[in-house]
């Protein structure tokens, strides 16, 4: 694809939505993430890249406290969302996750109808007051996920009956239906074919208008195509963080350069 685009693209905002300072993550005795400092900017796509096992997915899961569900996982340091520490004892992960949504590697639609899949979030959080409002929310979310035209005639058929790419867009629709402020995506295209990948990437670029998006990816081309900011992780360290164009054309750290040119990872 057109890699030249990235130099033309301007970063929409400089205000930090989320801020991570000195984040450490331990799995039991294993020190998985060390001293990570990152700012997630508002209305921006941030890509996390790095070789397998470098900690990028772990860090992503820290951002909406999905690591809480893993036994033996411990997080230290400070992560804030709009200046509020999300690991503060007063914070309810349930409320946090309504603001920081997540899309997973493998499409995981619930074994329910397409409509119920998208309506799930608004229903549990009580975001709508009437059936009409809910209908509207579902339609809007499906439109945002660029799925509406394909499924509008079969909203009541099961979500598991869709193709892989459609399922992943359904999961994105489901995530945006709660109107999160940040959307985390954990390798959202790794289970998809190239055409579906292209559709999802296009979608990510559109989502930037309303959300700040964090995407973990194995594909450097993908990071270059969709993101404005890139963070490179290696062996549990955040090696380098900066504008995507700068990371890919003029990396400061030799490790980043080796990775980008294919010598490590």
């Amino acid at each position: 694809m057109n890699d030249m685009r990235l130099t033309e693209r301007n970063v929409a905002s400089d205000t930090a939505k989320m801020r991570a300072r000195k984040v450490q993550v331990y799995y039991g005795d294993n020190h998985a993430l060390k001293d990570v400092d990152v700012d997630i900017l508002d209305k921006t796509v941030t890509a996390f890249i790095g070789p397998s096992g470098c900690g990028k997915s772990t860090f992503l899961r820290c951002l909406n406290r999905m690591n809480d569900t893993i036994a033996g996982c411990r997080v230290e340091g400070e992560i804030t969302l709009e200046a509020e520490n999300i690991y503060d004892r007063r914070v309810d992960p349930v409320q946090l996750r309504a603001k920081v949504g997540m899309v997973f590697q493998k499409p995981n639609p619930f074994p329910k109808s397409i409509y119920d899949n998208v309506a799930y979030g608004p229903r549990i959080h009580g975001l709508t007051r009437s059936k009409a409002e809910l209908d509207e929310r579902v339609e809007q979310s499906l439109r945002r996920a660029a799925l509406w035209n394909e499924v509008k005639d079969r909203l009541l058929s099961p979500g598991t009956g869709l193709s892989g790419g459609q399922q992943q867009r359904l999961c994105i629709a489901r995530a945006v239906a709660t109107e999160p402020e940040v959307l985390l995506m954990d390798e959202p295209c790794s289970a998809l074919d190239p055409i579906a990948t292209a559709q999802v990437e296009e979608l990510i670029d559109e989502l930037r208008e309303n959300f700040s998006v964090v995407i973990v990816t194995h594909s450097m081309q993908q990071a270059a195509r969709v993101s404005q900011k890139t963070a490179f992780f290696h062996l549990g360290h955040l090696v380098e963080y900066g504008d995507t164009g700068q990371i890919f054309t003029n990396p400061r750290d030799p490790r980043t350069e080796s990775y980008i040119t294919g010598r490590i990872g």
């Binding site: 969302l81 503060d88 349930v94």
Partner: protein, 433 residues
Amino acid sequence: MSSSLFTQDARTTARNAAERRFRACGLAAIVLALAALVWLLISIFSAGAPAFRQAFMTFPVTLDEKALDKEGGRDPAKLSKVTTVSYAKLLALGLKAKAEDLGLETTGMKSKDFAKMISEESAASLRDRVLADPTLIGQTIEFTVLASGRVDGYYKGRVTMKTAVKDKNTSPEQLALADKLRAAGVLDIRFNWGFFTMPDASDKRPEAAGLGIAIVGSFLMMALVLVLSLPIGVAASVYLEEFAPKNRWTDLIEVNISNLAAVPSIVYGILGLSIFINFVGLPQSAPIVGGLVLTLMTLPRIIIPTRAALKAVPPSIRDAALGVGASPLQMVFHHVLPLAMPGILTGMIIGLAQALGESAPLLLIGMVAFVRDFPGGFFDPAAALPVQVYNWTVRGDPGFVERASGAIIVLLIFLLIMNAVAIVLRRRFERRW
């Protein structure tokens, strides 16, 4: 959506409360299930523990020649005509004499009352002893008798002075005397070996009822189940798992086996009654029939874990054996079966344990019959542990409830041992591939 993360909105508070309630419900369910288990065990153990202790009385008995052998010829035919009633009288006299010797207060006690303190069973065992050795007649011997069920029950809290007032079979005076005899060392309470060795006893003699025949019967049946179901079960599993072509016919066999495993056990009893007893003509109440019925019932329950154990052996082992030129049967018997053996044996033991505790089918093939003679083989009438329990629960005398619960403790201990062996086998020998 700009509200602070630090304050919970009303909806989140309510949702979190629902979450806590849900969690509490789950915990409550587990607590209830475990409480039921504990309650069940406590209730059975507290009811059954007394069965392992028993009141005995030891005193000299004069085997009066006038009562036992009037003509003095020691003719066995004539001796065997003397009934237990005569012996019971001698025992009562002996006890009375002992009490008077010790200078114990016996006011209000007739000789009939002394007789009632002694188990009727003891008269029979005294008679057996005399018939076996007629030279004892005319002598005075030290003899140990079982105290009657009521006196025994008095020391187990089943009988009290209050209940004794209305009870035809005992009286407060008897119980008072029993206390004094105990103080004098004539009556004492010991471990009840007889409970494991003696045969069942009739309706009015709970104190003499034992599990001897039931244990032998259960053992014979388990031996038969083991000998038949292990080879057949392994052979069937090997065929289905290793050799059977995957077609409709083998699919039918598989569905059939999983259904047989869920058929109510009483249906197997009907099968045993109509095929083995009515059609083949095998005797009722015999371990052979019980063993066959339990084998048929156990087979599908063994085949299922055996197949799982065979399936757990990785295909690479099979490829390796075939690769060096072993025939498929050699592959199975030299490699797959030995590796699957721990799993097979574990399944077998658990299947046996289930068969040991099974009672419903045995009721139908006559294992409820009252049996007093130890079986000499598979074709003689016998009892079975769980059926003996049932048998005792339908008797009138409350002493039998204690016996039934005691029998269950014995049964549970057998099961515990079998399951412990299975667990050890699994822990020691199970391989993870």
